[in-house]
């Protein structure tokens, strides 16, 4: 492993890419002032600032280096505040390759290593040459595997073969976003604006000016969703499910099977008519490190932005094997308490997994592996008591998927509470061994 011993630097272009928007802004400013014609006196402060920023970037690149040291990845950075990071590869949960827009322009990629746990430490190698990133990732993964199995010597480089399970067609994605809740809202806003514009053009300008911020944010929301889910493909690799997506910012991520806290399937009203659904996975840990993109901060990962139920069932089979086959509806008197929800409510369990369905307008089905259950709560409100009903909440570490067995007969809820806590304990024990 002689070639792995030396310290290595990141790609020389990394400070520029890291600067991101600032770089673009500085470049445009420079170009503008250059194009503005030789008034050098105005140019000097601009140039000075750009120079200082560039110098800082260069210095930070100069003092940052990394190496693979046995079972550790070591990263050293900082000039004044020197930071040395030793990242044990045996703790690695996932290695992701992220390529934001600017990085793609310059042909570089970021390698991001995650560990488990709620503190979720992340090591970033930003940026490496794009063609270097993939082999390095494979090698790190192989090393991590070797460290985990205590083989001492790192395993030879393996080409990780993966099998693509699904790719979402762009047309369907656009259609699905257009009739989703966010999409409908955006359309309503735009339609309203057009209506106002037709009725009185003067008012339209004022309205558009006054509500520019909300309009912009709604459009950003729609755009972000489209960008994130564009050509999202899910592949099965030996180390978990590989997720790739993105129109401008490309991201690749691996979901280890053990990291999944809960899975949910969402079927909005209009999608149900088309037989479409959306599959999202809740992952452990709150990775809120500085410098991570929006997509990485959310604990919820979309595995299937839009797809048929059959496809969703097929994917579910891989994510939560042995899930309950059928769910039972609640007693009829629930109609009095929650008339909108009544048709949706159901729950079921198998030996290792609990499934609950709820929702008023959109149907949300959640699956929680029993070994991931944190605690169970039985809650009964005054109205529920009158009707002899109770709700059992299943709490997990993920915060976005909420599984609750709503409005069941009191006796059934009590039974579910004891059964589930016993099964959850058994599942934990089995996993611990």
């Amino acid at each position: 492993m002689s070639e792995a011993e030396g310290w290595r630097r990141l790609h020389p272009l990394s400070p520029i890419v890291r600067g991101g928007r600032a770089t673009i802004a500085v470049a445009t400013l420079l170009l503008l002032s250059l194009a503005g014609g030789g008034r050098t006196s105005g140019l000097i402060p601009d140039l000075a600032i750009a120079g200082i920023i560039f110098a800082f970037g260069f210095v930070s690149w100069l003092v940052t280096r990394w190496r693979i040291d046995g079972d550790d990845l070591r990263i050293e950075s900082g000039l004044l505040r020197r930071q040395s990071l030793r990242f044990p590869l045996s703790q690695v949960q996932a290695i992701d390759i992220v390529r934001p827009g600017l990085a793609r322009v310059f042909g570089v990629a970021e390698l991001r290593l995650r560990t488990g746990g709620s503190s979720g430490a992340t090591a970033r190698l930003a940026y490496l040459a794009a063609q270097e990133a993939e082999p390095l990732r494979a090698r790190l993964l192989a090393l991590a595997e070797g460290a985990r199995t205590h083989e001492g010597k790192p395993a030879p480089e393996v080409a990780i073969e993966e099998r693509v399970l699904t790719t979402v067609p762009t047309g369907r994605l656009i259609a699905s976003i257009l009739i989703s809740d966010v999409g409908l809202f955006a359309e309503a806003v735009i339609a309203g604006l057009i209506l106002v514009a037709v009725l009185s053009p003067n008012a339209a300008v004022a309205v558009a000016g006054g509500s520019a911020v909300p309009i912009f944010s709604v459009l950003t929301l729609v755009w972000r969703r489209f960008n994130q889910e564009y050509r999202l493909s899910l592949a099965e690799a030996p180390d978990g499910l590989r997720l790739r997506s993105g129109l401008i910012a490309l991201s690749a991520e691996t979901i280890r099977p053990g990291r999944v806290q809960a899975v949910r399937m969402v079927e909005p009203l209009l999608w149900r008519a088309l037989g479409w659904c959306r599959l999202e996975v809740d992952l452990a840990g709150k990775q809120r490190s500085k410098g991570e993109g929006q997509a990485e901060r959310r604990p919820l990962r979309t595995v299937l932005p839009v797809g048929s139920r059959a496809l969703a069932e097929e994917l579910l089979e891989r994510i939560v094997p042995d899930r309950p086959r059928r769910q039972s509806p609640p007693p009829q008197r629930v109609l009095l308490k929650s008339p909108l929800r009544y048709r949706m409510l159901a729950w079921g369990r198998s030996e290792t997994c609990v499934a609950t369905t709820s929702g008023r307008i959109r149907r949300v089905t959640a699956w929680v592996p029993l070994e991931k259950v944190q605690s169970l709560r039985r809650v009964q409100g005054p109205f529920q008591r009158r009707l002899r009903l109770a709700t059992v909440h299943v709490d997990t570490a993920g915060r976005s998927v909420h599984a609750a067995i709503r409005d069941r007969d009191t006796a059934e809820a009590d039974r579910a509470l004891t059964e589930l806590s016993d099964l959850a304990r058994a599942a934990r024990r089995k996993k611990g061994r």
Binding site: G116, V373, V379
Partner: protein, 141 residues
């Protein structure tokens, strides 16, 4: 227990205020206030007392049960193995009665296992015991 005292104190203050008003000469208004304060205070006291009796906890072999609430009754089952850390807090009012609140945290934010108004010794005992069994049964995420 604590809430009960709080309510009693407020009711007493209201009573005294009403009494003062009555003494100042507005006899009818004052008497009405007095009666109102008495009824409300007793009602609140009864409500809080019943709520106090609804709190309860049980240490089982593998998990802790915490029961609370009357109007909205809740029963939490928290496995010891899932416990991440335990808080023992005592506010100024609690401290003056030598009481403390024990709270268990799991990785789930929604888990709600709070036991208020414990004796200080009991709180310390519970904390140590929970920490001990938690250690023995700890399970990863």
């Amino acid at each position: 227990m604590l809430r009960r005292l709080e309510v009693a104190a407020i009711a007493l203050a209201a009573l005294i205020a009403a009494g003062v008003v009555a003494l100042l000469g507005h006899t009818i208004v004052g008497l009405a206030c007095l009666g109102g304060a008495l009824v409300l205070g007793l009602g609140a006291e009864r409500f809080v007392a019943r709520r106090f009796y609804a709190w309860g906890y049980a240490e089982r072999e593998d998990d802790l049960l915490v029961r609370r609430g009357l109007l909205f009754s809740r029963l939490s089952v928290v496995p010891y193995g899932r416990m991440q850390f335990i808080d023992v807090t005592a506010g100024p009012l609690e401290r003056s009665f030598r009481l403390a609140t024990v709270r268990m945290h799991t990785a789930a934010a929604a888990s709600d296992a709070r036991i208020p108004g414990l004796d200080r010794e009991e709180a310390a005992r519970l904390r140590d015991r929970l920490a001990e069994v938690g250690e023995a049964q700890a399970a990863g995420l």
